[in-house]
Each structure stands twice: as structure tokens, then as C-alpha cells.
């Protein structure tokens, strides 16, 4: 029995999962190889998202299949580097906009005023 394939990122209105979001965030500024992505994800998430090598490349495989990232040719590079595609930038921008809208909504309802940001992050 063939099970249904999960929805591609571009066909889904669902928010990105934290690992996928932080991988796209890591690649939004520049191209990186796997270990750089892993370190950047841990740093950007304040250690709340830690990717093992297998999980990282499982996510990279899916992002490649959905054409959100591509491998970059680098002369003499021993490692593979990855960068966002235009489609990846669009998906990531949409996700940031979703977050921005949520923050604006929270501000208009005065939900952020009483909560120190450091505590809110916890």
C-alpha cells in the first residue's frame, strides 16, 4: 500500500516546523555546509533546537526535494554547501510575515506589555 506523500512546503499553509524554520534562517544570510548549519541552528534557537547529523540531513533532503535549497558548487570544497532558492526565500519570508503578524496582533491586544521578553521567551 502506498501511503500519501506529506504535503510539500509550498503547497501547505501550515507553519514550518522549528528545525526547518531555523535551517532556513541559517541559510537566509549566506550559504553554509552541514556542520555550520547545525551550529547556527543551536545558536539562533538559544539551544532549544539541537539537530543531530541524521536529523539535519533528513531535513536537508526534504528541502532539496521541495526545491527550497540547492547545493552550491565550490571549487575544491570537500563539503557540500547549501543555499536558499528563490522559492526558499519566499517560503521563509512568508513564515517571518506570519510571525510578524502574530507579534503585531499581540501588541494591539497589549499582550506583550506586561511580560518581560526574557521571561516570555521561556
Amino acid at each position: 500500500m502506498v501511503m500519501s506523500k506529506p504535503k510539500a512546503f509550498s503547497n501547505s499553509n501550515a507553519p514550518l516546523t522549528p528545525p526547518i524554520f531555523y535551517i532556513l534562517l541559517a541559510l537566509a544570510s549566506r550559504e553554509r555546509h552541514g556542520y555550520e548549519i547545525m551550529k547556527q541552528v543551536t545558536h539562533d534557537s538559544n539551544g532549544t533546537v539541537r539537530l543531530g547529523a541524521g536529523t539535519l540531513y533528513g531535513a536537508i533532503k526534504r528541502l532539496l526535494e521541495d526545491e527550497l535549497i540547492v547545493e552550491v558548487d565550490r571549487d575544491h570544497a570537500r563539503r557540500k554547501y547549501y543555499q536558499l532558492t528563490d522559492k526558499g526565500h519566499t517560503i521563509f519570508a512568508n513564515e517571518l510575515q506570519r510571525y510578524s503578524n502574530a507579534v503585531e496582533l499581540a501588541k494591539t491586544r497589549s499582550l506583550l506589555g506586561d511580560i518581560p521578553l526574557a521571561e516570555a521567551a521561556l
Binding site: L51, A53, G54, G58
Partner: protein
């Protein structure tokens, strides 16, 4: 980013060889495309842990093991989802018929011994009667009255053999020779750890100690570990 250390010690080489062999648990297509990259990332993380702490902690290995299990299951599930179960099984089981036959022959023994083990842990009536049957059968086959060492060896060998045989079932038949050798070393290491470990524990504490530890750990977790060790040590 840590620099790669050219002059690694033997222990480090052995651990990285084991991690390389474990890549064969991934589906062939995933391993061919990302196996080398995964190994490089793991080496970087390993070297950084070593540089920061002076040693590689148990937590590092635990998180690496959890990541391995999660990602291996996820990748095989992904193949099944895309190709279907029938195609997946055909592709997997045709890899090495000798190993498949060996595993199938040994699985009934492993099942009986598993029932024995579970029966001892849970102590349920139904399971206990099955456990007595399984233990009786295993003792009869082992030709031993009550010798715990023989019983434990009898438990260990089929289980180790199943582990030994199931790994090649999962891996590709087109494996490069170097990695093939690494996988064989891992299999031998698995057998050695299971047989020697269980044998030593049995020699030291008797054959009830492992079910006793499992029962207490299931009930209490790691709470009051010294008491658990004391109770099971005297079991």
C-alpha cells in the same frame, strides 16, 4: 569550527569506524547521497566535544544514538511511503538470502527466549507459564540442568546472531568493501559485547539479575539506583 585532527588516537579511530558502519542502517539512496556528509558532521561534533571537555561524554553518545534511531526510522518510513511496502520489502530482502534465511531460522528461538525474559519481568501467570515452557525448552536444547552460564550463552548466541544477521539485511548489497569490513567488525563487536557482558553478569550475580534490573528500572527508573543494584545483586 574545529580543525580535523590528523593524528587521531586508536580509540577515536575505532569509535569513528563504528559510527561509519552505523551509516549502513540508512536506506541506500539516502546513504549514497548524504552518508559522507553525515560522517563529516559527526566527526566535527565529536572533535569539538573532545576539544571542549577533554573527553566525549555519555550524553554525547546518547544523543547521537537517539538521533541515529530517529533518523534511520524516518528515512525507511519515507521510502515505504514513497515506494510502498511491497517494493520496499522486495528491495530489502533480496540483498542477501543467506542472512535472511539465518535470521528466520533463529527468530523462533529469539521469540521463545523473549517470552521467557518478559515473563520473568512481568511475572504474569500466563506469561510465567509460557516462560517456564520456554526456559524448559531452552535448557533441554542446551543439555543443561540448571547451569545459568549455559542458559545465558544459549540466550546470547541466538540474539547476537539475529542482530548479526539483520544488519546485512538492511544494508545494501552494493556496499563498498571497506565499509563492508567495518560492518563486519561492528557485528563481531556486537556479538562479543552481548556474550561477554551477559556471561560476566551471570557469573557475578546469577541468571536472575538481568530480569530483576529490568523490572526495577521499569518500575522506578533511575530513582534509588543503589537500592536496585543491591536488591538485584542479591537476587
Amino acid at each position: 569550527m574545529p580543525s580535523h585532527v590528523d593524528e587521531r588516537d586508536t580509540a577515536t579511530d575505532q569509535r569513528l569506524t563504528i559510527s561509519e558502519a552505523l551509516l549502513y542502517l540508512y536506506p541506500e539512496s539516502f546513504r549514497d547521497k548524504f552518508g559522507g556528509e553525515i560522517q563529516m558532521v559527526f566527526q566535527d561534533a565529536y572533535q569539538e566535544e573532545l576539544a571542549m571537555r577533554g573527553t566525549v561524554s555519555l550524553g554525547f553518545w546518547l544523543s547521537a544514538l537517539i538521533d541515529l534511531v530517529q533518523s534511520v526510522v524516518a528515512q525507511h518510513a519515507d521510502i515505504i511511503r514513497k515506494q510502498g511496502m511491497k517494493s520496499y520489502l522486495q528491495e530489502t530482502l533480496q540483498l542477501n538470502k543467506f542472512h535472511v534465511i539465518g535470521a528466520i531460522l533463529l527468530l523462533p528461538f529469539a521469540f521463545l527466549l523473549g517470552v521467557d525474559f518478559v515473563g520473568r519481568v512481568i511475572q504474569g501467570d500466563l506469561l510465567r507459564s509460557n516462560a517456564e515452557f520456554a526456559q524448559g525448552l531452552s535448557l533441554w536444547i542446551a543439555g543443561s540442568g540448571q547451569a545459568p552460564l549455559l542458559w545465558i550463552i544459549f540466550v546470547s548466541l541466538p540474539l547476537a546472531a539475529v542482530v548479526l544477521n539483520m544488519i546485512p539485511v538492511i544494508r545494501s548489497r552494493f556496499a563498498p568493501k571497506q565499509a563492508e569490513a567495518a560492518t563486519k567488525r561492528l557485528n563481531l563487536l556486537t556479538v562479543a559485547i552481548i556474550v561477554i557482558g551477559l556471561g560476566l553478569v551471570t557469573f557475578a550475580f546469577g541468571h536472575d539479575v538481568i530480569p530483576c534490573l529490568a523490572r526495577h528500572l521499569l518500575q522506578n527508573g533511575l530513582n534509588n539506583l543503589p537500592n536496585t543494584l543491591a536488591v538485584c545483586g542479591n537476587a
